[in-house]
Structures are given as C-alpha cells and as structure tokens.
C-alpha cells in the first residue's frame, strides 16, 4: 500500500470578499519530496500555505497535512510540522538561545539543550547564540529562523520565500542546509518562492500558480522541456504573461 501523501488538497478555495485568492485547487504532495509553489505576486501561494497550516480557513474544499484535516483538527499535526518565513519574526529582545528554548518547549522537544547545541553547530549559530535576535543581520536571522523551523525535526516543513532579501552567498548556504535537512530527515518540504534558481535546485516538482489556480505541474526539467525554454525563469514568464507577453505587469 502506498504511503499517504504528506499534503493533500481537494478543490481548495479561499475567497476574500469578492476576490478569489485560491480557486478550487487540488494537489497531493508525496512524503519525502520537495515541491515548489511558483507564481507571481497574488497568485495564492501564501494563502495556500496558510490553509495547509490551518492558520487560514478555506472557503470550500479540504486540505490535509500528515493525514489530518487542518481546518478542523490541526493540533494533531502541528507538532510534526514547522514553518519558516522572512515575514514572520522571532522576539527581538530574547537571545537566540532563549528563543530556541521557548520554541523547543512549545514543541515538547526532548533533550532540548543538546538539540540547541546540535542546531547551533549545524547552522553556525554558536557565535551569536547568546545575542538578542533583534541585533542580528538578515542572514543570521534566517539561520535562526531555520533553527526554529528544524527544532522539532519536522516531517513536513513549509517555507515561504526562505531566501528573500539574502545575498547570493548566504542564500546558497541556506539552500545547502535545506538540501541536507531533506536528505538526512527524509522530510517533505513545500516551498513558495520567486527565485527560479532556488526552485530548480531544490524541487522535485513544481506547481505553477496563476490567479489562484494551478496552471501547470511537473518537475523543473519537464516544465522547461514542455515550454521549450532553457530555464525555469523563462517558463515562469511564459506562464505569468502568456507566450506572447500579453500579461506583462
């Protein structure tokens, strides 16, 4: 019997007043894979992630994460998943160690101090482990946010533009850590990103979103071949604007 999908969305809809942000999308994410949600601003990526976490209630349809209906019973799954986004911060006045202690205890992590030391070594946090989180650079904050996202060793990791505002060197380093986490943990990762190089490098499969709908679905190589392009960025532009560029912003 095949393993149940890590994420399963069935005709998922989210409306905000007259605006339909997510329009009856259905997809399943196999356990242990890395899937990218790719789309322009307002395509519905963050809203979809919000519904997968149970933080946003769907207007219609159903979403299950780790087999749990996230609109109704999300606490059965939340301890086994985690989330990272540059748009969500951690308390600035607390030190990195204090922040990790608080989140480790919220997730009921056993052997917490050992876990924090291991994450500090893995993510090179040791030099600033006892500094206030608010005093760190953007790159350091991203590493701390990743440590928080890894603290419970999640089976399912949701990432919303994890390398936004990072310099290329730091962004490359972060991608390397995500690859290592996926390889070592066998975790499922859902990644919303505008960065095509990142999606090409990390993702086994890409869901192309436009105006709340899934308009294409495949591996980066399949999508590039299907559109007859040389890279995913060109595919993205084709999808966003149409092949003739009629939808240019």
């Amino acid at each position: 019997m095949p393993a149940p999908p890590a994420i399963e969305a069935r005709r998922l809809v989210k409306r905000f007043g007259a605006t339909t942000a997510v329009d009856a999308i259905s997809f399943a994410v196999e356990a242990g894979t890395v899937v990218g949600l790719l789309g322009g601003n307002g395509a519905g990526k963050t809203t979809t992630i919000g519904m997968i976490m149970g933080l946003t209630l769907p207007s219609a349809g159903e979403v299950r994460a780790l087999g749990v209906d996230m609109a109704r019973d999300r606490y059965r799954a939340l301890g086994r998943m985690n989330f990272e986004s540059p748009y969500v911060d951690m308390p600035h006045r607390l030190t990195v160690r204090q922040n990790l202690r608080v989140f480790g205890r919220l997730y009921g992590v056993a052997g917490l101090e050992t876990r924090i030391e291991a994450l500090a070594a893995d993510l090179a946090l040791a030099p600033f482990l006892d500094r206030p989180a608010g005093s760190l650079s953007a790159g350091q904050k991203t590493r701390v946010a990743l440590a928080k996202a890894f603290i419970n060793d999640p089976e399912l990791l949701l990432l919303d533009e994890p390398t936004a505002s990072l310099d290329p060197d730091t962004a490359d380093w972060v991608r390397g850590r995500l690859e290592a986490f996926r390889r070592d943990r066998g975790a499922t990762i859902l990644l919303a990103s505008h960065n095509m190089a990142e999606v090409e490098r990390l993702c086994d499969r890409v869901l192309m979103l436009k105006q709340g709908r899934i308009v294409d679905d495949g591996s980066p190589a399949e999508l590039i071949a299907r559109y007859g392009r040389s890279n995913l960025e060109e595919v993205f532009l084709d999808v966003a604007r149409g092949p003739a560029g009629e939808g240019a912003p």
Binding site: I49, G50, G54, Y87, V88, L94, T95, R101, R105
Partner: protein, 278 residues
Amino acid sequence: MTPRSAAAPFSPARVGALVTRYVYLMRSSWPRLAELVYWPAVQMLTWGFLQTYIRAQAGASGVGSAMAIAGGTLIGSLLLWDTLFRCQLGFSVSFMEEMWSRNIANLLISPLRPTEFVAALMTMSLIRTAVGLVPVTLLAFWFFGFNLWGLGFALVGFFLNLVLTSWAIGLTVSGLVLRNGLGAEGLAWSVLFFVMPFACVYYPVGALPPWLQTIAWCLPPTYVFEGLRAAVVGHQLRADLMLEGLAINLGLIALGAAAFLALVDSARKAGALLSMGE
C-alpha cells in the same frame, strides 16, 4: 523524534514555555521593570497626599464625616483600581508583545492551544501586577500608614473579582487586536477608563443619578469599591457584595472567552494571521 507533549489537549509545559518567554522579556530590560512600578507609585503618592490634606481639612473645619470618609478611602480605591488596570494591561500587553515582534504566526502554528495561550497571559497578568503593585502597597503603608494587606479576607474577595474582570476585558481586547490588527491596540489602555465613572471607584454608588446606578450595579468593580468603603469606613466584610460581583464576573469571563475564540476564528476566516504586525 516524537514530541513529548505535542498531542496533549492542555499542557502545563507549553503554558510554562510561554510564561518563560515573557519572563525573559521582562528580565531583558530594566526600564520595562521600572515602568511597572513607576506609574502606580506616582499615582499613589499624588492621591495619598490629597487624602492626607482632605482628612486634615475635614477635621480642622468640622465639615463632617462625608469628607473624612471620601478622603479615607482614596488610597485604597486607587490601589484596587490600579490592580484592575494593571492586571488587564498585563494580559493585553503580553499578548501584544507577540504582535509587536511579529511572532504571533510562529505561536499559532506551534502546538500551543488557545487555552494554553490564554493561561499564559493570565499568569503574566498576575506576575506583572504583583511586580508593579506589591512595592506600592508597601510604600502606601510607609508614607501614609494605609495597610491594604490589613483588609485580610476582604482583600481576597476584592482581588479575585478585579482579576476576573481584568481577564474578561483582556480576552476581548486581545481578540479584537488579533482580528483587526494593531490599529485596535489603543483599546488596551483606554477601555477601562470608559468603565471608571460608572464603577464608582472614588465615590459611592448613591452619588450617581438613579438610572446610572442600574448600570453601575451591572459592573463587577462597583461591588468591589462599595465593599472597600464598607470595609475601611464601616469595618464590615460585605460577603454579599463579593458574591454578587463574582456571579457577574463568571458571566463576563464566559463572554470574554467566547468573544476571544470567535475572534480567533474570524481572523482565520479573514486570513489575517499570517500578516499580523505588518
């Protein structure tokens, strides 16, 4: 790795984790700690000297007992009002710390249940109130000979009622801020001052016009301040007032909890929780 308590419906460990977060925050800044004591102390000294003056004038001019009674309860009323205000502020400000630091989404996608979040906020409201007011009650005794702790068992009734009222208001304010964003944060500082004139903090209910007295008796703090005047002036323990106040408070807490949960649900429907603090 299997989290130990992630599936528990109510986990004291998670409540403790969040309380630890707020204690870390308090410890990180001495001005924050000093501010907890500063305003209650300044208020108490101001009203304390006014009370001393009124009592002296009432005695010297023979104006009679009304002035003496009014003057005699000023410090006690102030300390109990500050208990209500600081306790509500302790609840609401702890909640808003999560909004100010844009950390709320991190908490809401963790295994922390709303009931645990609220329990941590209640704990912090007690801690912040104790840090702010215990030193001020000692100052009141030192400067003016007013011993709040001497009220004994009555103080338990007063405190219990005021804390429950503050939590009911804190729940509603926090829910409104969660639903509407930080534009609603001013409510945390202002909402109790709307209640103040009708709660008869510094004067008896009889001082209000009859139609306002009906409104006053719907507010649990009114029972506390009437009870305080009975205790300080008449040396009476009015258990009836405390029980009536408690009954209204239980209704208010149920309403506050329902409002909080409904507003959380409404924020989830509106998709507001991922953009909080921005």
